[in-house]
Amino acid sequence: MRIKLSKDSILSLVAVILGLTAGAILMRLTGNSPIEGYRYLFSGGAMNIERIGNTLATATPLIFTGLAVAFAFKTGLFNIGASGQMLMGGLGATAVGLTLAWPKPILLTVMMLVALFAGGLWGAIPGWLKAKFNVHEVVASIMMNWIAFWTVYYAVPAYFKGPFLETESRRLPSSASLKVPWLTNLFQGSYINLGIFIAIATIIIIAFILDRTTLGYELKAVGHNKHAAQASGINVNQRIVLSMAIAGALAGLGGASFYVGFASNMQIGVLPSQGFDGMAVALLAANSPWGVFSGSIFFGILHTGKGFMNAMTNIPPEIADTIIATIIYFAATSVLVERLWVRLKKKKILRFLEKSDVGAGGGE
């Protein structure tokens, strides 16, 4: 297991390095110095305590959506609906936060639970459609994204309209926000909020479920080989629904962390990009929970630093997005990198055999 993990991390690192190299070439081509560019990009994401706070705050929803994609993938399902699940989670949490005036700890707990169930429902529906009618989860969850999109589009102006703009909800009172003064002060006024702690706790829980529980064993068995799982008495269809529900719940929490933590109101007409970035994170993480954590932090740095890079140099901020996209390509084609690696290794062995003359008369 450890060997495999380290192989995956090497491949991810190779993808990152190749992506950064491609970015450097692009910076060079646009007539800028890559060294300058990267210096400002990374210091923009980590040069002081406030920026570190913002990096963590940007990474928080990515951790959730990354987990949402990775978890479903362990069961062999491609959850492309994290955006919609985020929206529903965010809408649920916002609705509760704007309606109830309970003490902060209780209110936040209820808000997170509502987000969890709303997202879970949004994931369970494609899961159920897959289990019952064999509708492909990619198609179903894309459709669910748009249902969520238009639900928000209708619900926010109708029930939670802000005082000035039709296109966004009222601001949440501070008693309904995941931002807490001590944390904001500690990070000198950044966007960081309680979401990051919930995210880390969630990683621990998900890693535990996958590694140590019969549920994780079943889900992974279904993901690797559903025929063998079925023949062993595992109820494959039920596990598919459950896996998608848990994935949806994770993205729902991510929605809450974004809309009632990072932001303090909901805008209509936007599918949150974190839902899609989650796929990139999961891909880069090779679906490992702690890999999702590192990947999210890395993407958080790039997102937070790109503005600073743009301010200090002539490099357009889109370069950062291009780097992310390139990394995704290299992560997705990591099979090729691996194959190359294996071939190089084989050549080395052959050469070694030739040199030491062990090869002759070998066999068994």
Binding site: T213, T214, K220, H224, N225, A228, A231, G233, I234, I349
Partner: protein, 507 residues
């Protein structure tokens, strides 16, 4: 000496293994030369070199005394070398003629000249006694006929050297007889044949000479007529093999499995099993014989619970399990060694240890309140690995994918038998395994029987059925043709039943 093909001192290495270790193989004109070896011995590599699919690292190929190089199969065809693959390469909705000319069509202006092609095929068919109708569609003809189409394909291309790769694996005993007759006809007309096989009986029946290879090394070339089966087997395996299985007489107990008028649909939605009734008693092995695709898969899947029963009932130890979920059936004492070990048998990404608990992971002591108990699992897998002699490099932590087929199968057999099932269903339990592993698995199946458990064994290998079974049930086209006592039947009779001819209806 008049050799048509000479593979001289052929060496082929793959990373970490020498597939052919300076092997010399010489084929005389007009002989049937068997190439014998276990799976992975290097038979396929050697023939693939002759057929142009691989290039040898060293050594030379001589054809009719002239040295040649064969860079690809097209060149091989051109040189008169043809191969009948184990898995036929035919287009099912084409006719026999269309399949045969595919790739070397003769044209009449813009049109394919089907008529003269068909005439030539008829002529070839008559000459070699193949009895093929050139206008029949492939999907309508039997497997044996399809094989003859493959043979015709080579003859149509004027092949002089024919390679048969495990040609009898898919045939009934009668079809095997036919094939042997055809092979004799072919050599009588001056063709030369290389027969790749691991079945000694067929070599004795048809081959003139036999070359044995083991683990990439040439063991020797012998005259078949003056060599016994036992000697051939010893050459192939490298040690003495017991052919006869010690099967003590045993009194059967009550019926463990009862099928009553069972009908099951197949994947095409038609009845794959038709009104089938069968009993398997405690302490007996019932062998289900039949040609591939005659309802065996559907029958087994319906007993396991993977497939819905259309009508009829399944009883296990007197309890109706027809509609029980799979897990309940497993827990009430059914074990299953599946036909396809990679599809239904193992999670290849899991370790051996994880695979060994695939059906018991949710039971104490392997899990408590939903948490896996790693120590109990490790203890269990170490015990099972030792008891069933599963050879795994890193013990329980070995990934299932990295093991040999034999050890993967042993892992499944271990898991299924260790549960001490009342009913063991073994489907093709020795498919693709070497002699040693086959011997081992047969002993284990007999062990279950001797312990007073019921065993239902499905196999396409008639030898396996004849050797192990107490009773033999024969299935054809989804119908049970009959059940015969193994001591009271012959291979010929079972073969005819496999073809759908009921007992007593024979002349």
């Amino acid at each position: 000496m008049d050799y048509v093909v000479e593979l001289l001192d052929i060496r082929k290495e793959f990373p970490s293994v020498v597939a052919c270790d300076n092997i010399t193989f010489q084929l005389k004109r007009g002989e049937i030369h068997a190439l014998l070896g276990e799976n992975g011995a290097g038979k396929s590599t050697l023939t693939n070199i002759l057929f142009g699919l691989y290039q040898p690292d060293s050594g030379s190929i001589r054809l009719r005394g002239r040295e040649v190089s064969i860079p690809n199969p097209n060149v091989a065809n051109h040189l008169g070398i043809g191969m009948v693959h184990q898995h036929f390469k035919l287009v099912h909705n084409f006719t026999v003629t269309e399949n045969i000319i595919l790739g070397s069509e003769t044209t009449n202006g813009l049109f394919i000249d089907l008529r003269s092609a068909a005439a030539r095929i008829t002529e070839l068919s008559n000459k070699y006694g193949l009895n093929v109708n050139p206008h029949a569609k492939i999907s309508d003809v039997s497997v044996g006929m399809q094989q003859r189409v493959e043979i015709l394909k080579m003859l149509y291309r004027n092949a002089e050297i024919l390679i048969f790769d495990e040609p009898t694996a898919v045939l009934t005993p009668q079809e095997i007889q036919e094939l042997m007759k055809i092979m004799k006809n072919l050599i009588a007309e001056g063709k030369s044949i290389i027969l790749i096989t691991h079945k000694l009986k067929e070599i004795k029946a048809v081959a003139d000479r036999c070359t044995v290879i083991r683990r990439g090394k040439l063991i020797g070339t012998v005259d078949v007529a003056s060599t016994s089966q036992e000697t051939l087997a010893e050459m192939m395996v490298g040690r003495k093999i017991t052919f006869t299985i010690d099967k003590q007489e045993q009194v059967c107990g009550g019926s463990t499995l009862v099928l009553e008028g069972l009908s099951v649909r197949n994947n095409n939605g038609v009845l794959g099993v038709k009104n089938l009734s069968l009993e398997v008693h405690a302490g007996e092995i019932v062998g289900l014989a039949g040609i591939d695709g005659n309802g065996q898969v559907e029958l087994v899947e319906s007993i396991i619970g993977l497939r819905k029963v259309e009508s009829g009932k399944i009883f296990l130890k007197g309890h109706d399990i027809t509609t029980l979920p799979i897990r309940d059936r497993l827990n009430s004492g059914v074990s299953h060694i599946p036909e396809d070990r990679h599809k239904h048998g193992l999670v290849l990404e899991y370790t051996v240890g994880e695979n060994l608990i695939l059906k018991i992971y949710n039971q104490e002591p392997f899990s408590r309140r939903g948490l896996l108990q790693r120590e109990a699992i490790a203890e269990h897998s170490n015990r099972v690995i030792q008891e069933f002699d599963v050879r795994a490099g890193q013990g329980a932590a070995t990934s299932a994918r990295s093991m040999s087929g034999g050890n993967q199968q042993k892992t499944i057999v271990a898991r299924e038998i260790d549960r001490n099932p009342d009913l063991l269903i073994a489907v093709q339990p020795t498919r693709g395994l070497d002699v040693g592993a086959i011997e081992y698995i047969h002993r284990r199946l007999l062990g279950q029987r001797n312990k007073g458990k019921a065993v239902l064994m499905v196999s396409l290998e008639l030898d396996e059925i004849m050797n192990l079974s107490d009773r033999i049930a024969v299935i054809n086209n989804g119908e049970l043709i009959g059940v015969v006592d193994a001591n009271d039947t012959t291979e010929n009779e079972v073969g005819l039943m496999m073809a759908g001819i009921k007992r007593g209806a024979m002349a």
